[in-house]
């Protein structure tokens, strides 16, 4: 783990890892799509729309994985001041947010034929909606400071506060939903998972997770390079001008 602290080491390792992960994700998603769209059966109640589950569930999963990655990286950055940790958190956010958005969009497309409405205040969709706002807040806070390290540190605290809140939010929304539940309930995930549906589901989940890591590695490399660029620019400008580069806006 310590060896990864060196950005150069990380760049080398990630470059080695990337092709394998990319290949794995292509294979797994490809196989998953084959099973999801062609082989697996239609649902007894939901018909062909159940196939949306094969993209909805991985999206939900990655939305949560993304936030956990952000929170873990933020904690490491705050406690051990590991230089790479802040970059990992920053890189993970847009990916997790995208998948959370996809979870909501596919959930809506799944819900319309099932429940007749484009949006239902289903417990999971509602929790995912709140999670999306937690993501957006994090990304907004990061970019609201001229000094990127200040932005990284502040949003690290926010990520942890949000992470602690996620179980509270889930609990509250679940409770709220049971209170306002109509008599008949069709959970978005379906009443039970047919074994033939498990294969494509697992393939898609693992495939997309590999994809997540691939994109994460790309973005972290990108952030490392961006910070190198900033460092060079600061030393260049520091030599030729006396005004600081950033204008720290207050308020």
């Amino acid at each position: 783990m310590q060896r990864l602290a060196n950005p150069a080491q990380f760049l080398r390792l990630s470059k080695q890892l990337q092709p394998w992960l990319a290949a794995a994700s292509v294979l797994l998603i490809g196989a998953g799509l084959y099973f999801a769209l062609l082989v697996s059966p239609a649902d007894y109640q939901q018909g062909q729309t159940v196939r949306i589950m094969y993209v909805h569930v991985p999206s939900a999963w990655l939305g949560m994985v993304g936030y956990s990655t952000m929170a873990l990286a933020s904690a490491v950055g705050l406690i051990w001041k590991h230089p790479l940790a802040d970059l990992v958190a920053k890189a993970a956010a847009p990916i997790g947010a995208s998948f959370t958005f996809l979870c909501l969009a596919t959930g809506s497309l799944w819900g319309k034929p099932m429940w007749g409405t484009w949006w239902a205040w289903d417990a999971r969709l509602t929790s995912m909606l709140i999670l999306l706002f937690l993501y957006l807040g994090y990304m907004a806070l990061q970019s609201a400071f001229d000094d990127p390290s200040r932005g990284a540190r502040a949003s690290a605290i926010l990520a942890l506060a949000g992470f602690i809140n996620v179980p509270v939010i889930k609990f509250s929304v679940d409770w709220w939903k049971t209170l306002h539940q109509p008599a008949s309930l069709l959970k978005v995930s379906g009443p039970a998972i047919h074994p033939a549906m498990l294969t494509p589901l697992l393939l898609m989940v693992t495939g997309f997770t590999c994809f997540f890591v691939v994109v994460l590695l790309i973005r972290v490399r990108s952030e490392i390079i961006a910070s190198k660029i900033r460092a060079i620019r600061l030393t260049q400008i520091h030599g030729t001008r006396e005004e600081p580069l950033a204008d720290h806006a207050v308020g």
């Binding site: 907004a140 806070l141 609201a144 400071f145 540190r153 509270v168």
Partner: protein
């Protein structure tokens, strides 16, 4: 302890000298609640049904509006730096400011709420639940809000950003606050909801000042 009281007193003095803050918060509260009958019609049944939610959401928003003055003024004129240099922990400073904030925001809202509940035809049985939930909930709003206010110090568009950060975290308090009132009005027990609200407050009491103090340290670096 005495240091804590000093901070509370100082902030209260500053707030009273300003004078208008509490009045503005309550005025916003009243005005916004009054908008609802215009928006959804004056029918008593409908207003009664939505009254707990309307009161709570509006109180939440009103409480949030006054958050930016929590640290901003002190940050801008340098007194925050001086306060940070004193031997007192920043966490104590945060708690002191939160107490002062609640006294000038949460408490006035609590006093105004029953009056507005009458305007919204809220069921009489809900009044006590309304007060109890606000008593348990508004301090939590101040605590979470303090963390948010500390995080956006020195950020661009801090005011709007603060709302984006803080509102999702307010949702559990909102759910259980309204849930308790609804339960009582329907003749059910509200003990569980109140317990959860109390639990959230107990959890926020140590955690929010910790996070806020960490954010303040970052802002002062």
């Amino acid at each position: 302890m005495s240091r804590l009281l000093e901070i509370v007193r100082r902030d209260l003095r500053l707030a009273l000298r300003q004078g208008s803050d509490s009045v503005m918060v309550v005025t916003f509260f009243v005005l916004t609640v009054i908008l609802f009958p215009f928006g959804i019609g004056p029918e008593a049944n409908i207003l009664e049904r939505v009254s707990p939610g309307v009161l709570w959401v509006t109180a939440l928003l009103a409480s949030m509006l006054s958050l930016d003055r929590l640290f901003q003024a002190d940050y801008e004129d340098g007194s925050l730096e001086l306060l940070a240099l004193t031997p007192t922990a920043l966490e104590v400073l945060v708690i002191g400011k939160v107490i002062a904030h609640w006294l000038t925001t949460g408490l006035p809202l609590m006093i105004a709420a029953p009056v507005l509940a009458v305007l919204l035809h809220m069921n009489g049985e809900g009044f006590i639940a309304l007060l109890v939930t606000m008593l348990l909930g508004t301090p939590t709003l101040s605590l979470i809000g303090a963390m948010g206010a500390a995080l956006v110090l020195g950020a661009r568009r801090g005011g709007v950003l603060l709302s984006l950060l803080v509102l999702p975290l307010y949702i559990p308090v909102l759910i259980f606050g309204v849930g308790a009132i609804d339960a009582v009005v329907q003749g059910l027990e509200d003990g569980a909801q109140l317990l959860v609200l109390g639990g959230i407050l107990l959890a926020a009491l140590p955690l929010a000042p910790l996070a806020a103090a960490a954010a303040l340290r970052q802002a002062l670096e």
